[in-house]
Protein backbone atom coordinates (compact mmCIF):
# COMPACT_ATOMS: atom_id res chain seq x y z
CA UNK A 1 0.00 0.00 0.00
CA UNK A 2 1.43 3.41 -0.93
CA UNK A 3 2.15 5.54 2.13
CA UNK A 4 1.00 9.02 1.33
CA UNK A 5 0.76 10.16 4.89
CA UNK A 6 2.70 12.67 6.92
CA UNK A 7 5.47 10.21 7.59
CA UNK A 8 6.23 9.83 3.91
CA UNK A 9 6.34 13.59 3.38
CA UNK A 10 8.61 14.05 6.37
CA UNK A 11 11.04 11.40 5.17
CA UNK A 12 11.11 12.95 1.69
CA UNK A 13 11.85 16.32 3.22
CA UNK A 14 14.62 14.83 5.34
CA UNK A 15 16.07 13.11 2.29
CA UNK A 16 16.01 16.33 0.30
CA UNK A 17 17.70 18.26 3.11
CA UNK A 18 20.26 15.51 3.37
CA UNK A 19 21.19 15.86 -0.28
CA UNK A 20 21.41 19.64 0.06
CA UNK A 21 23.76 19.18 3.03
CA UNK A 22 25.91 16.78 1.04
CA UNK A 23 26.05 19.28 -1.82
CA UNK A 24 27.06 22.08 0.55
CA UNK A 25 29.81 19.95 2.06
CA UNK A 26 31.17 18.89 -1.32
CA UNK A 27 31.05 22.31 -2.97
CA UNK A 28 34.55 23.79 -3.53
CA UNK A 29 34.04 26.82 -1.31
CA UNK A 30 36.62 29.44 -2.09
CA UNK A 31 37.29 32.67 -0.30
CA UNK A 32 35.51 35.57 -1.92
CA UNK A 33 37.46 37.91 -4.13
CA UNK A 34 37.67 41.54 -3.03
CA UNK A 35 38.60 43.62 -6.02
CA UNK A 36 39.87 47.15 -5.67
CA UNK A 37 40.70 47.11 -1.99
CA UNK A 38 44.44 47.38 -2.32
CA UNK A 39 44.56 50.78 -0.69
CA UNK A 40 42.65 50.55 2.52
CA UNK A 41 41.07 47.93 4.61
CA UNK A 42 38.77 50.31 6.45
CA UNK A 43 36.13 50.24 3.77
CA UNK A 44 35.66 46.51 3.89
CA UNK A 45 35.27 46.05 7.63
CA UNK A 46 31.54 45.79 7.36
CA UNK A 47 31.86 42.88 4.95
CA UNK A 48 33.72 40.73 7.40
CA UNK A 49 31.37 38.22 8.91
CA UNK A 50 31.13 34.50 9.47
CA UNK A 51 31.61 32.35 6.40
CA UNK A 52 29.11 29.68 5.48
CA UNK A 53 31.49 27.05 6.79
CA UNK A 54 31.71 28.82 10.13
CA UNK A 55 27.97 29.19 10.29
CA UNK A 56 27.43 25.51 9.67
CA UNK A 57 30.32 24.11 11.73
CA UNK A 58 30.51 26.77 14.39
CA UNK A 59 33.55 26.31 16.69
CA UNK A 60 34.49 23.13 14.85
CA UNK A 61 35.28 25.17 11.73
CA UNK A 62 38.54 26.34 13.25
CA UNK A 63 39.58 22.76 14.06
CA UNK A 64 38.66 21.60 10.59
CA UNK A 65 40.68 24.44 9.10
CA UNK A 66 43.70 23.48 11.24
CA UNK A 67 43.46 19.92 9.94
CA UNK A 68 43.36 21.22 6.41
CA UNK A 69 46.53 23.27 7.00
CA UNK A 70 48.30 20.14 8.17
CA UNK A 71 47.28 18.47 4.92
CA UNK A 72 48.45 21.55 3.02
CA UNK A 73 51.92 21.25 4.51
CA UNK A 74 52.02 17.56 3.71
CA UNK A 75 51.03 18.10 0.08
CA UNK A 76 53.64 20.86 -0.29
CA UNK A 77 56.32 18.54 1.08
CA UNK A 78 55.23 15.88 -1.40
CA UNK A 79 55.39 18.33 -4.26
CA UNK A 80 51.66 18.04 -5.00
CA UNK A 81 51.05 21.74 -5.25
CA UNK A 82 47.67 21.52 -6.98
CA UNK A 83 46.16 19.50 -4.14
CA UNK A 84 47.93 21.74 -1.62
CA UNK A 85 46.31 24.87 -2.98
CA UNK A 86 42.89 23.25 -3.14
CA UNK A 87 43.22 22.24 0.51
CA UNK A 88 44.44 25.73 1.44
CA UNK A 89 41.41 27.27 -0.25
CA UNK A 90 39.12 25.06 1.77
CA UNK A 91 40.97 25.92 4.99
CA UNK A 92 40.61 29.62 4.29
CA UNK A 93 36.93 29.20 3.44
CA UNK A 94 36.36 27.30 6.70
CA UNK A 95 38.08 29.88 8.86
CA UNK A 96 38.76 33.10 6.95
CA UNK A 97 39.33 35.08 10.14
CA UNK A 98 42.47 33.07 10.91
CA UNK A 99 45.11 35.59 9.86
CA UNK A 100 47.91 33.03 10.09
CA UNK A 101 46.29 31.00 7.32
CA UNK A 102 46.49 33.87 4.89
CA UNK A 103 50.10 34.71 5.81
CA UNK A 104 51.10 31.03 5.68
CA UNK A 105 49.84 30.55 2.13
CA UNK A 106 51.12 33.93 0.97
CA UNK A 107 54.56 33.11 2.40
CA UNK A 108 54.61 29.84 0.52
CA UNK A 109 53.70 31.52 -2.75
CA UNK A 110 56.02 34.51 -2.47
CA UNK A 111 58.99 33.19 -0.52
CA UNK A 112 58.70 29.58 -1.60
CA UNK A 113 57.46 29.23 -5.15
CA UNK A 114 58.82 32.62 -6.22
CA UNK A 115 62.24 32.16 -4.63
CA UNK A 116 65.38 32.13 -6.68
CA UNK A 117 66.15 28.71 -5.25
CA UNK A 118 62.87 27.31 -6.46
CA UNK A 119 62.21 28.96 -9.77
CA UNK A 120 64.87 30.12 -12.21
CA UNK A 121 62.46 31.78 -14.64
CA UNK A 122 61.84 35.43 -13.59
CA UNK A 123 58.55 35.54 -15.49
CA UNK A 124 57.22 32.63 -13.49
CA UNK A 125 58.54 34.10 -10.24
CA UNK A 126 56.72 37.33 -10.99
CA UNK A 127 53.45 35.43 -11.39
CA UNK A 128 53.88 33.71 -8.05
CA UNK A 129 54.59 37.00 -6.31
CA UNK A 130 51.51 38.56 -7.87
CA UNK A 131 49.46 35.54 -6.82
CA UNK A 132 50.64 35.97 -3.24
CA UNK A 133 49.85 39.68 -3.23
CA UNK A 134 46.38 39.09 -4.67
CA UNK A 135 45.77 36.55 -1.92
CA UNK A 136 46.73 39.10 0.75
CA UNK A 137 44.40 41.70 -0.77
CA UNK A 138 41.55 39.21 -0.59
CA UNK A 139 42.47 38.31 2.93
CA UNK A 140 42.40 41.87 4.15
CA UNK A 141 38.66 41.81 3.62
CA UNK A 142 38.14 38.71 5.73
CA UNK A 143 40.94 38.12 8.20
CA UNK A 144 40.72 38.89 11.87
CA UNK A 145 43.76 41.18 11.82
CA UNK A 146 43.84 42.72 8.35
CA UNK A 147 46.61 45.08 9.44
CA UNK A 148 49.05 42.16 9.53
CA UNK A 149 48.20 41.20 5.97
CA UNK A 150 48.57 44.78 4.74
CA UNK A 151 51.94 45.03 6.53
CA UNK A 152 53.10 41.79 4.91
CA UNK A 153 52.03 43.13 1.57
CA UNK A 154 54.09 46.20 2.15
CA UNK A 155 57.11 44.12 3.04
CA UNK A 156 56.77 41.98 -0.08
CA UNK A 157 56.43 44.99 -2.34
CA UNK A 158 59.52 46.53 -0.74
CA UNK A 159 61.37 43.26 -1.16
CA UNK A 160 60.68 42.90 -4.86
CA UNK A 161 61.94 46.41 -5.52
CA UNK A 162 65.27 45.43 -4.02
CA UNK A 163 65.39 42.01 -5.55
CA UNK A 164 67.71 42.12 -8.51
CA UNK A 165 66.92 38.51 -9.21
CA UNK A 166 63.45 39.45 -10.36
CA UNK A 167 65.00 39.90 -13.72
CA UNK A 168 67.67 41.61 -15.75
CA UNK A 169 66.62 44.54 -17.90
CA UNK A 170 65.46 42.19 -20.66
CA UNK A 171 63.18 40.29 -18.28
CA UNK A 172 59.66 41.58 -17.54
CA UNK A 173 60.47 42.86 -14.05
CA UNK A 174 57.86 44.52 -11.93
CA UNK A 175 55.09 46.28 -13.93
CA UNK A 176 55.77 49.99 -13.74
CA UNK A 177 59.29 49.44 -12.45
CA UNK A 178 60.78 49.98 -9.01
CA UNK A 179 59.01 53.27 -8.37
CA UNK A 180 55.60 51.73 -8.87
CA UNK A 181 56.49 48.88 -6.53
CA UNK A 182 57.72 51.29 -3.82
CA UNK A 183 54.59 53.39 -4.16
CA UNK A 184 52.40 50.32 -3.78
CA UNK A 185 54.49 49.31 -0.78
CA UNK A 186 53.98 52.69 0.85
CA UNK A 187 50.25 52.48 0.27
CA UNK A 188 50.14 49.04 1.80
CA UNK A 189 51.99 50.23 4.91
CA UNK A 190 49.58 53.15 5.13
CA UNK A 191 46.65 50.70 5.02
CA UNK A 192 48.31 48.66 7.77
CA UNK A 193 48.71 51.71 9.92
CA UNK A 194 45.10 52.73 9.33
CA UNK A 195 43.97 49.27 10.35
CA UNK A 196 45.86 49.43 13.59
CA UNK A 197 49.46 48.44 12.99
CA UNK A 198 51.25 51.71 13.85
CA UNK A 199 54.56 50.36 12.62
CA UNK A 200 52.99 50.56 9.20
CA UNK A 201 52.98 54.34 9.43
CA UNK A 202 56.64 54.24 10.36
CA UNK A 203 57.53 52.11 7.38
CA UNK A 204 55.43 54.28 5.15
CA UNK A 205 57.24 57.34 6.34
CA UNK A 206 60.63 55.80 5.67
CA UNK A 207 59.63 54.76 2.18
CA UNK A 208 58.05 58.06 1.16
CA UNK A 209 60.80 60.14 2.63
CA UNK A 210 63.67 58.01 1.39
CA UNK A 211 62.32 57.68 -2.12
CA UNK A 212 60.61 61.06 -2.39
CA UNK A 213 57.23 59.51 -3.00
CA UNK A 214 54.08 61.65 -2.96
CA UNK A 215 51.90 61.42 0.18
CA UNK A 216 48.84 59.18 0.12
CA UNK A 217 46.07 60.56 -2.02
CA UNK A 218 48.36 62.25 -4.46
CA UNK A 219 49.87 59.16 -6.13
CA UNK A 220 49.11 58.24 -9.72
CA UNK A 221 48.43 54.65 -8.93
CA UNK A 222 50.44 51.47 -9.00
Amino acid sequence: MVDRGEGAMRSRLALGLGWVSVALCCWPWQTEGQSGVSRSVAGVEAQRGASLGQRILGPVAGLAASAEWVRFDWYVREGRYERAYAVAERALALDPRATQGWTHLASHLVFGRASLESEPDPTVRLRWIQAGLALLVRGEGQAGVPADLAYMRGLILSWVTDLEGLGPPVAPGWPGGKDAARLSSADAFHAAGTAGNLEGFLMEGILRTGNRLPPPGEEQGE
Binding site: T31, A86, E89, L109, S115, S118, W128
Partner: protein, 354 residues
Protein backbone atom coordinates in the same frame (compact mmCIF):
# COMPACT_ATOMS: atom_id res chain seq x y z
CA UNK B 1 -0.74 -34.25 -13.20
CA UNK B 2 1.87 -32.56 -15.32
CA UNK B 3 4.88 -31.16 -13.54
CA UNK B 4 6.20 -28.28 -15.59
CA UNK B 5 9.58 -28.76 -13.98
CA UNK B 6 9.96 -32.01 -15.90
CA UNK B 7 10.28 -29.96 -19.04
CA UNK B 8 12.19 -26.94 -17.84
CA UNK B 9 14.63 -25.59 -15.29
CA UNK B 10 14.57 -22.58 -13.06
CA UNK B 11 15.59 -19.30 -14.65
CA UNK B 12 17.42 -16.54 -12.82
CA UNK B 13 17.28 -13.80 -15.43
CA UNK B 14 14.23 -12.17 -13.92
CA UNK B 15 15.85 -12.13 -10.49
CA UNK B 16 18.96 -10.60 -12.04
CA UNK B 17 16.79 -7.92 -13.68
CA UNK B 18 15.00 -7.20 -10.41
CA UNK B 19 18.28 -6.38 -8.69
CA UNK B 20 19.51 -4.29 -11.61
CA UNK B 21 16.35 -2.29 -11.18
CA UNK B 22 16.76 -2.02 -7.41
CA UNK B 23 20.32 -0.75 -7.79
CA UNK B 24 19.03 1.98 -10.10
CA UNK B 25 16.29 3.19 -7.79
CA UNK B 26 15.50 6.71 -9.04
CA UNK B 27 15.03 7.96 -5.49
CA UNK B 28 18.79 7.58 -5.05
CA UNK B 29 20.32 7.72 -8.53
CA UNK B 30 18.66 10.86 -9.78
CA UNK B 31 19.73 13.04 -6.82
CA UNK B 32 23.25 11.62 -7.07
CA UNK B 33 23.52 12.42 -10.77
CA UNK B 34 21.92 15.80 -10.13
CA UNK B 35 24.46 16.52 -7.41
CA UNK B 36 27.31 15.65 -9.76
CA UNK B 37 25.85 17.87 -12.44
CA UNK B 38 25.60 20.78 -10.00
CA UNK B 39 29.13 20.22 -8.68
CA UNK B 40 30.47 20.16 -12.25
CA UNK B 41 29.37 23.78 -12.57
CA UNK B 42 31.81 24.84 -9.84
CA UNK B 43 35.37 25.95 -10.48
CA UNK B 44 37.65 23.35 -8.94
CA UNK B 45 40.88 25.17 -9.77
CA UNK B 46 42.40 26.71 -6.64
CA UNK B 47 42.53 30.50 -6.73
CA UNK B 48 46.27 30.53 -6.07
CA UNK B 49 46.87 28.34 -9.09
CA UNK B 50 44.63 30.46 -11.24
CA UNK B 51 46.24 33.71 -10.10
CA UNK B 52 49.70 32.37 -10.85
CA UNK B 53 48.72 31.51 -14.41
CA UNK B 54 50.05 27.98 -13.95
CA UNK B 55 46.71 26.27 -14.40
CA UNK B 56 46.67 24.86 -17.90
CA UNK B 57 43.30 23.82 -19.38
CA UNK B 58 44.32 20.17 -19.08
CA UNK B 59 45.19 20.64 -15.40
CA UNK B 60 41.90 22.41 -14.74
CA UNK B 61 39.94 19.59 -16.32
CA UNK B 62 41.98 17.05 -14.43
CA UNK B 63 41.35 18.73 -11.09
CA UNK B 64 37.65 18.87 -11.82
CA UNK B 65 37.57 15.20 -12.82
CA UNK B 66 39.44 14.17 -9.73
CA UNK B 67 37.15 16.18 -7.47
CA UNK B 68 33.91 14.96 -9.06
CA UNK B 69 34.94 11.31 -9.06
CA UNK B 70 36.17 11.57 -5.47
CA UNK B 71 32.80 12.86 -4.32
CA UNK B 72 30.90 10.37 -6.48
CA UNK B 73 32.87 7.33 -5.35
CA UNK B 74 32.72 8.33 -1.70
CA UNK B 75 28.93 8.53 -1.81
CA UNK B 76 28.57 5.45 -3.95
CA UNK B 77 30.82 3.40 -1.69
CA UNK B 78 28.77 4.21 1.38
CA UNK B 79 25.56 3.43 -0.45
CA UNK B 80 26.90 0.16 -1.88
CA UNK B 81 27.90 -1.11 1.54
CA UNK B 82 24.44 -0.25 2.84
CA UNK B 83 22.69 -1.68 -0.22
CA UNK B 84 24.54 -4.98 0.09
CA UNK B 85 23.88 -5.29 3.79
CA UNK B 86 20.20 -4.52 3.22
CA UNK B 87 19.83 -7.41 0.80
CA UNK B 88 20.09 -9.89 3.63
CA UNK B 89 17.82 -7.74 5.74
CA UNK B 90 15.17 -7.83 3.00
CA UNK B 91 15.48 -11.59 2.76
CA UNK B 92 15.11 -12.00 6.50
CA UNK B 93 12.13 -9.63 6.56
CA UNK B 94 10.15 -11.88 4.24
CA UNK B 95 11.50 -12.05 0.70
CA UNK B 96 13.27 -15.31 1.49
CA UNK B 97 9.86 -16.89 2.01
CA UNK B 98 8.97 -16.71 -1.65
CA UNK B 99 12.51 -17.41 -2.83
CA UNK B 100 13.32 -20.38 -0.63
CA UNK B 101 10.02 -22.13 -1.28
CA UNK B 102 10.94 -22.25 -4.97
CA UNK B 103 13.07 -25.03 -6.42
CA UNK B 104 15.70 -22.37 -7.18
CA UNK B 105 19.12 -23.23 -5.79
CA UNK B 106 20.11 -20.91 -2.96
CA UNK B 107 23.66 -20.42 -4.24
CA UNK B 108 22.43 -19.48 -7.71
CA UNK B 109 19.96 -17.07 -6.18
CA UNK B 110 22.88 -15.51 -4.27
CA UNK B 111 24.99 -15.15 -7.42
CA UNK B 112 22.09 -13.83 -9.51
CA UNK B 113 21.32 -11.26 -6.83
CA UNK B 114 24.95 -10.16 -6.56
CA UNK B 115 25.41 -10.05 -10.34
CA UNK B 116 22.22 -8.08 -10.85
CA UNK B 117 23.08 -5.53 -8.17
CA UNK B 118 26.60 -5.20 -9.61
CA UNK B 119 25.25 -4.71 -13.12
CA UNK B 120 22.99 -1.96 -11.82
CA UNK B 121 25.99 -0.28 -10.18
CA UNK B 122 27.83 -0.55 -13.48
CA UNK B 123 25.07 1.25 -15.33
CA UNK B 124 25.02 3.93 -12.65
CA UNK B 125 28.79 4.38 -12.97
CA UNK B 126 28.46 4.81 -16.72
CA UNK B 127 25.78 7.47 -16.19
CA UNK B 128 28.05 9.22 -13.70
CA UNK B 129 30.92 9.12 -16.18
CA UNK B 130 28.73 10.79 -18.77
CA UNK B 131 27.80 13.56 -16.33
CA UNK B 132 31.44 14.07 -15.31
CA UNK B 133 32.70 14.19 -18.87
CA UNK B 134 29.95 16.50 -20.07
CA UNK B 135 30.78 18.77 -17.14
CA UNK B 136 34.51 18.79 -17.78
CA UNK B 137 34.25 18.92 -21.55
CA UNK B 138 35.73 15.57 -22.63
CA UNK B 139 39.23 17.00 -22.95
CA UNK B 140 42.16 16.76 -25.31
CA UNK B 141 44.67 14.01 -26.16
CA UNK B 142 46.91 13.29 -23.23
CA UNK B 143 49.46 10.76 -22.00
CA UNK B 144 48.90 7.40 -20.34
CA UNK B 145 51.03 5.60 -17.80
CA UNK B 146 52.47 2.81 -19.91
CA UNK B 147 54.93 1.19 -17.54
CA UNK B 148 56.73 1.68 -14.26
CA UNK B 149 60.10 0.63 -12.96
CA UNK B 150 60.92 0.63 -9.25
CA UNK B 151 63.85 2.76 -8.14
CA UNK B 152 65.88 2.64 -4.95
CA UNK B 153 66.27 5.49 -2.49
CA UNK B 154 69.55 7.10 -3.47
CA UNK B 155 71.36 10.20 -2.27
CA UNK B 156 73.46 12.21 -4.70
CA UNK B 157 76.00 14.71 -3.42
CA UNK B 158 76.89 17.72 -5.55
CA UNK B 159 78.47 16.55 -8.78
CA UNK B 160 77.39 12.92 -8.43
CA UNK B 161 75.41 11.00 -11.10
CA UNK B 162 73.21 7.94 -11.13
CA UNK B 163 72.49 5.76 -14.17
CA UNK B 164 69.17 3.89 -14.31
CA UNK B 165 68.93 1.48 -17.23
CA UNK B 166 65.40 0.76 -18.37
CA UNK B 167 64.56 -2.91 -17.88
CA UNK B 168 61.92 -4.52 -20.01
CA UNK B 169 60.21 -3.32 -23.16
CA UNK B 170 62.02 -0.09 -24.00
CA UNK B 171 59.92 3.05 -24.36
CA UNK B 172 59.97 4.40 -27.88
CA UNK B 173 57.93 7.55 -27.41
CA UNK B 174 56.53 9.74 -24.69
CA UNK B 175 58.38 10.82 -21.55
CA UNK B 176 59.88 9.45 -18.36
CA UNK B 177 59.12 10.90 -14.95
CA UNK B 178 60.99 10.48 -11.71
CA UNK B 179 60.46 12.08 -8.28
CA UNK B 180 63.41 13.86 -6.73
CA UNK B 181 63.82 15.61 -3.44
CA UNK B 182 66.36 18.09 -2.16
CA UNK B 183 68.03 16.27 0.69
CA UNK B 184 68.99 17.82 4.04
CA UNK B 185 72.62 18.14 5.05
CA UNK B 186 73.65 20.89 2.67
CA UNK B 187 72.02 23.67 0.69
CA UNK B 188 68.23 23.47 0.86
CA UNK B 189 68.04 23.69 -2.91
CA UNK B 190 70.02 22.27 -5.75
CA UNK B 191 69.95 21.99 -9.52
CA UNK B 192 69.42 18.68 -11.25
CA UNK B 193 69.99 17.47 -14.78
CA UNK B 194 68.03 14.44 -16.00
CA UNK B 195 69.08 12.85 -19.28
CA UNK B 196 67.48 10.04 -21.28
CA UNK B 197 69.94 8.49 -23.69
CA UNK B 198 69.51 5.84 -26.31
CA UNK B 199 72.49 5.36 -28.57
CA UNK B 200 73.72 8.75 -29.73
CA UNK B 201 70.43 10.51 -29.02
CA UNK B 202 70.03 12.35 -25.72
CA UNK B 203 67.16 14.29 -24.30
CA UNK B 204 67.58 16.54 -21.25
CA UNK B 205 65.52 18.23 -18.57
CA UNK B 206 66.80 20.69 -15.98
CA UNK B 207 65.14 21.71 -12.77
CA UNK B 208 65.90 23.77 -9.73
CA UNK B 209 64.89 21.57 -6.85
CA UNK B 210 63.33 23.00 -3.73
CA UNK B 211 61.60 20.25 -1.81
CA UNK B 212 60.09 17.31 -3.64
CA UNK B 213 59.35 17.66 -7.31
CA UNK B 214 58.73 15.43 -10.30
CA UNK B 215 61.12 15.75 -13.20
CA UNK B 216 60.06 14.69 -16.65
CA UNK B 217 62.33 14.08 -19.63
CA UNK B 218 61.34 13.24 -23.19
CA UNK B 219 62.09 9.72 -24.45
CA UNK B 220 64.57 9.74 -27.37
CA UNK B 221 62.75 8.79 -30.58
CA UNK B 222 62.88 5.34 -32.08
CA UNK B 223 66.58 4.50 -32.31
CA UNK B 224 68.34 1.21 -31.57
CA UNK B 225 70.02 0.57 -28.26
CA UNK B 226 69.12 0.35 -24.60
CA UNK B 227 67.56 3.31 -22.85
CA UNK B 228 69.44 4.77 -19.89
CA UNK B 229 68.26 7.55 -17.57
CA UNK B 230 71.04 9.56 -15.95
CA UNK B 231 70.38 11.86 -12.99
CA UNK B 232 73.13 14.36 -12.20
CA UNK B 233 73.29 16.73 -9.24
CA UNK B 234 74.62 19.91 -10.82
CA UNK B 235 73.88 22.16 -7.89
CA UNK B 236 75.34 22.86 -4.50
CA UNK B 237 72.94 20.88 -2.33
CA UNK B 238 72.27 17.19 -1.83
CA UNK B 239 69.73 15.36 -3.92
CA UNK B 240 67.66 12.28 -3.10
CA UNK B 241 65.93 9.92 -5.46
CA UNK B 242 62.49 9.08 -4.02
CA UNK B 243 62.26 5.28 -3.95
CA UNK B 244 58.63 5.42 -2.90
CA UNK B 245 57.67 6.52 -6.39
CA UNK B 246 58.77 4.45 -9.39
CA UNK B 247 60.24 5.69 -12.64
CA UNK B 248 57.16 6.09 -14.85
CA UNK B 249 56.94 5.95 -18.59
CA UNK B 250 54.19 8.14 -20.04
CA UNK B 251 53.25 7.70 -23.65
CA UNK B 252 50.79 9.59 -25.84
CA UNK B 253 47.34 8.05 -25.62
CA UNK B 254 43.73 8.87 -26.27
CA UNK B 255 41.65 11.71 -24.97
CA UNK B 256 41.30 12.63 -21.32
CA UNK B 257 37.78 11.22 -21.12
CA UNK B 258 39.23 7.72 -21.19
CA UNK B 259 40.35 8.38 -17.65
CA UNK B 260 36.73 8.22 -16.57
CA UNK B 261 36.45 4.85 -18.32
CA UNK B 262 39.34 3.60 -16.22
CA UNK B 263 37.65 4.82 -13.09
CA UNK B 264 34.35 3.21 -14.07
CA UNK B 265 35.97 -0.17 -14.65
CA UNK B 266 38.00 -0.14 -11.46
CA UNK B 267 35.11 1.20 -9.41
CA UNK B 268 32.76 -1.45 -10.78
CA UNK B 269 35.12 -4.23 -9.78
CA UNK B 270 35.72 -2.70 -6.38
CA UNK B 271 32.08 -1.97 -5.67
CA UNK B 272 31.08 -5.48 -6.74
CA UNK B 273 33.54 -6.91 -4.25
CA UNK B 274 32.29 -4.52 -1.57
CA UNK B 275 28.72 -5.56 -2.37
CA UNK B 276 29.60 -9.21 -1.94
CA UNK B 277 31.37 -8.50 1.35
CA UNK B 278 28.42 -6.53 2.70
CA UNK B 279 26.02 -9.31 1.68
CA UNK B 280 28.17 -11.84 3.46
CA UNK B 281 28.42 -9.82 6.65
CA UNK B 282 24.70 -9.06 6.43
CA UNK B 283 23.99 -12.75 6.80
CA UNK B 284 25.56 -12.74 10.26
CA UNK B 285 24.65 -9.34 11.68
CA UNK B 286 22.38 -6.35 11.29
CA UNK B 287 22.49 -4.16 8.22
CA UNK B 288 24.22 -1.22 9.93
CA UNK B 289 26.98 -3.37 11.43
CA UNK B 290 27.48 -5.24 8.18
CA UNK B 291 27.74 -2.04 6.17
CA UNK B 292 30.21 -0.55 8.64
CA UNK B 293 32.38 -3.65 8.65
CA UNK B 294 32.41 -3.86 4.87
CA UNK B 295 33.37 -0.18 4.62
CA UNK B 296 36.17 -0.77 7.15
CA UNK B 297 37.54 -3.57 4.96
CA UNK B 298 37.49 -1.16 2.05
CA UNK B 299 39.51 1.34 4.06
CA UNK B 300 42.13 -1.30 4.76
CA UNK B 301 42.30 -2.19 1.07
CA UNK B 302 43.02 1.38 0.01
CA UNK B 303 45.87 1.93 2.46
CA UNK B 304 48.24 -0.37 0.60
CA UNK B 305 48.41 0.53 -3.06
CA UNK B 306 51.25 -1.90 -3.71
CA UNK B 307 48.90 -4.87 -3.77
CA UNK B 308 47.34 -3.99 -7.08
CA UNK B 309 45.18 -7.08 -7.35
CA UNK B 310 43.02 -6.03 -4.43
CA UNK B 311 39.93 -4.22 -5.74
CA UNK B 312 39.93 -0.51 -4.93
CA UNK B 313 43.58 -0.55 -3.81
CA UNK B 314 44.92 1.57 -6.66
CA UNK B 315 41.89 3.82 -7.06
CA UNK B 316 43.32 6.73 -4.99
CA UNK B 317 46.42 6.64 -7.18
CA UNK B 318 44.28 6.57 -10.31
CA UNK B 319 42.38 9.64 -9.15
CA UNK B 320 45.67 11.45 -8.49
CA UNK B 321 46.77 10.70 -12.05
CA UNK B 322 43.43 11.92 -13.36
CA UNK B 323 43.95 15.10 -11.36
CA UNK B 324 47.10 15.76 -13.36
CA UNK B 325 45.16 15.52 -16.59
CA UNK B 326 46.69 12.15 -17.45
CA UNK B 327 45.48 8.58 -17.92
CA UNK B 328 46.33 5.65 -15.63
CA UNK B 329 47.63 2.24 -16.60
CA UNK B 330 45.15 -0.51 -17.35
CA UNK B 331 43.72 -2.42 -14.42
CA UNK B 332 45.25 -5.65 -13.20
CA UNK B 333 43.88 -8.62 -15.11
CA UNK B 334 43.09 -10.55 -11.94
CA UNK B 335 40.82 -7.88 -10.54
CA UNK B 336 37.50 -9.16 -11.92
CA UNK B 337 38.31 -12.67 -10.72
CA UNK B 338 39.08 -11.36 -7.26
CA UNK B 339 35.73 -9.63 -7.18
CA UNK B 340 33.91 -12.81 -8.16
CA UNK B 341 35.90 -14.78 -5.61
CA UNK B 342 34.92 -12.32 -2.88
CA UNK B 343 31.24 -12.66 -3.81
CA UNK B 344 31.44 -16.45 -3.84
CA UNK B 345 33.38 -16.50 -0.58
CA UNK B 346 30.81 -14.28 1.04
CA UNK B 347 28.29 -17.03 0.50
CA UNK B 348 30.15 -18.98 3.16
CA UNK B 349 30.58 -15.89 5.32
CA UNK B 350 26.81 -15.53 5.35
CA UNK B 351 26.53 -19.10 6.54
CA UNK B 352 25.39 -20.55 3.26
CA UNK B 353 21.99 -18.95 3.40
CA UNK B 354 19.52 -21.80 3.41
Amino acid sequence: MSNPRDASRERYGELFSLWVRRSLDPAWTLPLLGLLAVLSLADWTPTALRASGMATPSLRRGLEREALWSVALLLLTVWTAWHGARIMWRWREGEWSWIASRPATAFRVWIATWAGASAGLGLLLVAMAVVVEVGTGLGAPTVRLADSQPVDDTRLEPGQSLDIPWIGKPPMTGSLRVFLRSSPGGDPTTDVLVEAQRGELVRQAKLRLDGRRPVEVEVPPDTPGPLVVTITNTGGGALALDGGQPLDWWKPAGSEWRGSCSVVWRALIGLSALLGLAMGFGGRMGAVSAAGLAAACLLVATTDPVVSWIPFADLPGVLTILGEGRLPMGAHLLLPLVSVAVAVGSWWTAGKVQ
